[in-house]
Amino acid sequence: MKLITAVIKPYKLDDVRAALDAFGILGVTVSEASGYGRQRGHTEVYRGTAHRVELLPKTRLEILVEDSDVETVVDVILKAAHTGMIGDGKVWVVPVDEVHRVRTGERGAAAL
């Protein structure tokens, strides 16, 4: 099993969710995140004084999948979150040792 983490532009969340849904992914954890990459921040002006806003709002998705689905799910996310502009975000994959479903106690692939 693998954990796919994606950090994307917030306004792309709906597109990515729709795409994942169409693929048949049953659960996603979404959280608000902030950070910076190549895009850096932006400048705001208050009464003539410039303030750098270094951290930009992003949306983080976490999805647990079976090894066989990893490549396709990553592709789905990459396609749905893509704008071609700087700041589109990143997707990465890490191995997962165990998964348990709290309600039933199921383990492994059955808990996904």
Binding site: E44, V45, Y46, R47, G48, T49, A50, H51, R52, V53, E54
Partner: protein
């Protein structure tokens, strides 16, 4: 003279309008401060309501508008109306056609907001206790005397012939100069000029506050006619157009300098316009008021940057807006006063330089401006310095960094828990200091300022 019921109703209504300005100011200032110090910021305005209302009734009205005696009468009023007991049923003594109490009520609100205005200079770092001492002492030694100079029939500036319709000198230059003095005594905040965290935490609050100030300001300016008459109507229109023009001018300057107009710029420009028209609302025509508003909005949008160049931490720009716009409005009378208006609104027709009146009005206005500015700055500096030496005007650095709201035993916003459930970082119901819910806090647990 009979009591004029229309005028009495108007002046009492205006007193309530001016009262609303101080909570409005609390929102205006509170929105501009940081999330961790918004309550302290608002409390300084509210504290002014609490203490100055009482002080005004006790001695303020008497020292400001009471009949002075002998050589002191141009400087300070007497004690003949202390406690207001002697004017309870008085009529026509203060203003023709009005119960004396109506005028006393109206003027009370001016004293409250003038004191509150100063607090914008010392956001995030002033001990609340020190502020609550400063407020009445400053009113006693600075506001009451200056308001007496400017508005009492015995006052020396009044008798000089200087024009201050609703408080350009007595309120705004006065509060602005005091703000500069107090900011210098209290000192710069940690991170001033370098820390990017110093930005408004709630701009909608700022806009709400500006809206309440604008609304209340009709009471401030049109009410200063102290009658329901033509002067009030002219002042009303002038107030609206000068304010609108100033808000527009500030946004335009921003658009040209920074490629974007801001909501804070609109609100700041509006207040600059309100301040500038305050002394001049009864002497300019609406076209002159628009010109004044454009100048005030544009100039103040640059003036607010002065503190970084000169190195004083006037946190919310009381100097850059109230002092500067107060000076602009007071001086503008010397140029833009027009007989078309003053022949109706004043005892005698008065013209500024641009309307063939010569230099005399301008010179008188400059004297009034300089006198108020100097006295207020020096006296305020001394008062603040003494308070600082005796009890300390500033909180400890740790309190300043963690957020001054903690000295009020409150926090403005409950953001610690996810969806308000207290899931992250919130204290457990029986809190860590051993106090059960509902149990009074032991005094030694109070955070020390």
């Amino acid at each position: 003279m009979e009591i004029d019921s229309g005028s009495t109703a108007w002046v009492l209504t205006c007193a309530a309008l001016v009262m609303l300005m101080t909570p409005g100011l609390a929102f205006f200032y509170g929105g501009m401060s940081r999330a961790k110090s918004v309550l302290n910021m608002m409390m300084m305005s509210l504290g002014s309501i609490a203490v100055i209302s009482v002080l005004w009734v006790l001695v303020g009205y008497s020292l400001t508008f009471g009949s002075g005696s002998g050589p002191l009468s141009p400087i300070i009023g007497g004690l003949d109306t202390v406690g207001l007991t002697s004017i309870l049923t008085g009529e026509n003594n203060a203003i023709e056609g009005l119960p004396d109490m109506a005028f006393a009520a109206f003027q009370m609100m001016f004293a409250i907001i003038t004191v509150a205005l100063i607090s914008g200079a010392i956001a995030d770092r002033a001990r609340f206790g020190a502020w609550m001492v400063f407020a009445p002492v400053w009113a006693l030694l600075v506001y009451f005397p200056i308001a007496h100079w400017v508005w009492s029939a015995d006052g020396w500036i009044f008798n000089l012939g200087a024009i201050d319709f609703a408080g350009g000198t007595a309120v705004h230059i006065n509060a602005g100069a005091a703000a500069l003095a107090v900011a210098l005594v209290v000192g710069r905040r940690k991170g001033f000029g370098t820390d990017d965290g110093f930005r408004p935490h709630n701009l909608p609050f700022v806009l709400l506050g500006a809206a309440l100030l604008w609304f209340g300001w009709f009471g401030f300016n049109a009410g200063s006619a102290v009658a329901a008459n033509t002067t009030a109507s002219i002042a009303f229109v002038n107030t609206q157009v000068a304010t609108a023009a100033a808000a527009g001018a500030w946004m335009l300057v921003e658009r040209l300098r920074f490629k974007g107009a801001t909501s804070l710029g609109f609100a700041s420009g509006a207040v600059a316009g309100l301040v500038a028209i305050t002394p001049a609302a009864s002497t300019l025509d609406p076209i002159g008021s628009i010109i004044l508003g454009l100048i005030a909005g544009a100039v103040c949008s640059f003036a607010v940057s002065l503190k970084y160049r000169l190195g004083f931490d006037d946190s919310l720009d009381v100097v850059g807006i109230h002092l500067v716009a107060g000076v602009i409005g007071s001086i503008a009378i010397g140029f833009l006063a027009t007989g078309a208006v003053t022949s109706v609104t004043m005892a005698e027709e008065t013209n500024g330089l641009f309307f063939g009146g010569g230099l005399s009005v301008l010179i008188t206005q400059v004297i009034a401006v300089v006198a108020v500015l100097l006295y207020s700055f020096v006296a305020s500096f001394i008062i603040a310095k003494v308070i600082d030496m005796v009890m300390g005007f500033r909180v400890r650095e740790e309190v300043e960094v963690d957020g001054i709201d903690q000295v009020h035993n409150e926090s403005a916003y409950e953001f610690t828990g996810m969806h308000g459930t207290g899931a992250f970082g919130a204290e457990t119901p029986a809190s860590s200091n051993g106090t059960a819910p509902g149990e009074p806090v032991k005094t030694e647990q109070k955070v020390e300022a």
